[in-house]
């Protein structure tokens, strides 16, 4: 796609191709991430994503500790969504040892995962608008709402982000008294915030001109690039692992999967806004239906699964989060591989940015929704 608006090429300027290293310390790269850009005037002709600054070889670490010991490390992958990371790992390990999960624990897991989705999308939308140039204000409104959910997590698990809450066969502790009522109150008020936020941004002319037709991915490209999550659905592919795999108890809830039509940045933004509304629907049903009962099966803390391989995946807020585990009959995993959604979604960055201006590269990166803790592992 050619760059829009008035454009001076390098020949008109009498200049060469300019190489710019954007990052690793740059406010709009969402962490220590570097884009090596080649610019013709203001147009991007080539882009190389460079990362690994946060690399700590999470996968190697996990080979030396028991399965349960890996759980707190998963919080630090995508540090905004500790709950879904926990769940994905618990799901894969539960496939190894085949445990029954109590009903109440299943509901708690769904509630936590959907609250995490609210947190993540709130933050992403806020930062996306921040990247567009609306410094501060809309982001802080989003952070303010996120704070309330983080307080819920703190009451539940003791920590705001590094929750370490799920266990193989259930969850660590039961909901404290009054937690569900508080949760219901916050979820009940959330749509009002979303309405306000949509009034603030949805019809904003600047947001529309900056983000529509920018960073377009067609359906075929999105599938071929292994894109997952809201980004895939913004390109018009109806694929939500909650609907496809029906892991946990997602088959019991009535919710829709929002689909975009153009696959541009604006669609990605709107798909996330709509997903928050669907999450609220799921949350309301889950809070109404949650039964009393045990929260944890009687499972040993250390176990030795038979030698086998398993791949468990869930729909994390950023896309498909998978754990590929190889067990060798000892207490530690032989191989522990994370399939991080934002790392794979980055593959399409170069393709989407070429032909756009530098300022657009920033919002395309923002619309991918990366977290460097997960990209670098």
């Amino acid at each position: 796609m050619p760059a829009r608006g008035y454009h001076l090429s390098k020949d008109e300027l009498g200049a060469d191709i300019l190489e710019v290293a954007m990052g690793p310390h740059h406010p709009s790269t969402h962490g220590v991430f570097r884009m090596d850009l080649k610019l013709d005037g203001e147009t991007v002709v080539d882009l190389k994503p460079i990362f690994g600054y946060l690399h700590r070889n999470h996968e190697k670490l996990a080979e030396d500790i028991p399965y349960l010991g890996c759980m707190p490390f998963t919080d630090r992958l995508d540090y905004l969504c500790g709950m879904t990371n926990n769940w994905a790992f618990a799901l894969s390990a539960e496939q190894l040892i085949e445990i029954e999960i109590p009903e109440r624990a299943q509901y708690i897991r769904v509630i936590c995962a959907e609250l995490t989705r609210l947190i993540n999308h709130c933050l992403l939308v806020g930062f996306f608008i921040n990247d567009l140039g609306a410094l501060g204000t809309p982001l802080l409104y989003a952070l303010r709402e996120r704070e309330k959910i983080l307080d819920l997590f703190e009451t539940l698990s003791g920590a705001r982000m590094m929750v370490n809450y799920m266990r193989f066969g259930g969850v660590r502790c039961d909901l404290p008294d009054g937690w569900l009522q508080e949760c219901e109150r916050i979820v009940g008020r959330f749509p009002a915030f979303l309405d306000e936020y949509e009034t603030l941004l949805k019809d904003n002319e600047i947001v529309i001109t900056r983000s529509q037709n920018v960073g377009v991915l067609t359906q075929e490209e999105a599938t071929n690039f292994s894109i997952t999550g809201p980004m895939l659905r913004a390109s018009g592919v109806n694929y939500d692992i909650r609907k496809v795999d029906k892991y946990g108890i997602y088959d019991r809830f009535d919710f829709k999967v929002p689909i975009g039509a153009h696959g541009d940045c604006y669609d990605r933004f709107m798909v996330r806004m709509l997903e928050m509304r669907e999450s609220i629907k799921i949350l309301k049903q889950a809070i109404a239906d949650i039964p009393e009962g045990p929260i944890m099966g009687n499972e040993p803390r250390v176990f030795k699964p038979d030698p086998q391989e398993t791949y468990g995946r869930i729909e994390s807020p950023k896309g498909e989060l998978g754990f590929y585990l190889i067990a060798d009959g000892t207490t530690n995993p032989y191989r522990y591989k994370v399939r991080p959604p934002s790392f794979v979604n980055l593959t399409a960055l170069r393709h989407m940015c070429i032909g756009h201006k530098v300022a657009d590269a920033v919002i395309i990166l923002g619309s991918i929704d990366i977290v460097l803790g997960e990209v670098d592992r």
Partner: protein, 234 residues
């Protein structure tokens, strides 16, 4: 784009509403001025482990028995324990060194979950900054030891549950002990009875030393252990 930027004006109305309401509505301005006001922790917050002791004396009331389960369970291996010894170099159930490296600890609470003596618990203290990056961040045993009252102060519900559990454990141990004592007493009584019977038999044997009565005596001996379970049951 329309000439009159309707969307932008709508957005400005929202920000204006937020601005004005932030003066009188708590939910529009939930921030606090941190060092003056500390509303950042609640009673469920966990940050770094500490050791609970009962009573007045730190060393005597220490619940930790240096079993090293937490050291093994800690994923980043930030706990370091050395068992204490008495003057004769015999190990006693108490840590001599109990260090937690707070720069490594990731507040995962796995040590709390494995502790069978309810000794290690999570603190909600979060102002741990220090001038010395290495030794200053290493928290040793004496700094880690905090009283049960402090535990009740920071985590009232959890501490109460722990206390109840410990009380139940002690009560159970006591009933068990009592049962054991009762059993021992009854066994001793039975033994005494058997011994008395034996003595009586022997006395009888002394007077009448015929071969047939020897056989009777052995029969009586065989009967004596059968009496014991009955006495136990009563």
């Amino acid at each position: 784009m329309s000439l009159i930027a309707k969307g932008i004006l709508q957005g400005m109305a929202v920000t204006a509403k937020n601005f004005i309401q932030s003066y009188y509505k708590k939910e529009r301005l939930p921030t606090v001025e941190y060092p003056e006001e500390k509303s950042t922790v609640n009673q469920f917050t966990r940050n770094i482990p500490f050791l609970v002791y009962d009573g007045e004396d730190e060393i005597e009331g220490m619940r930790c028995t240096a079993c090293k389960l937490c050291e093994k369970a800690c994923p980043p291996q930030c706990i370091y324990i050395i068992k204490d010894t008495d003057e004769n170099d015999k190990p006693i159930k108490r840590p001599k060194v109990f260090d937690i490296d707070s720069s490594v600890c990731m507040s995962c609470q796995l040590c709390v979950e494995v502790c069978p003596f309810e000794s290690i618990r999570m603190d909600s203290e979060f102002e741990l900054s220090n001038e010395n990056r290495f030794e200053g961040l290493l928290i040793n045993r004496d700094e880690l030891l905090k009283s049960n009252e402090y535990y009740h102060e920071i985590h009232p519900i959890e501490a109460q549950e722990t206390d109840d559990r410990i009380a139940a454990k002690i009560a159970e141990a006591e009933t068990k002990k009592k049962a054991r004592e009762e059993k021992a007493r009854l066994a001793a009584e039975a033994k005494q009875a058997a011994a008395a019977m034996k003595a009586a038999e022997e006395a009888a044997a002394e007077t009448e030393t015929s071969a047939t009565e020897q056989a009777q005596q052995s029969e009586a001996k065989a009967e004596a252990p059968e009496d014991n379970p009955e006495t136990k049951n009563t």
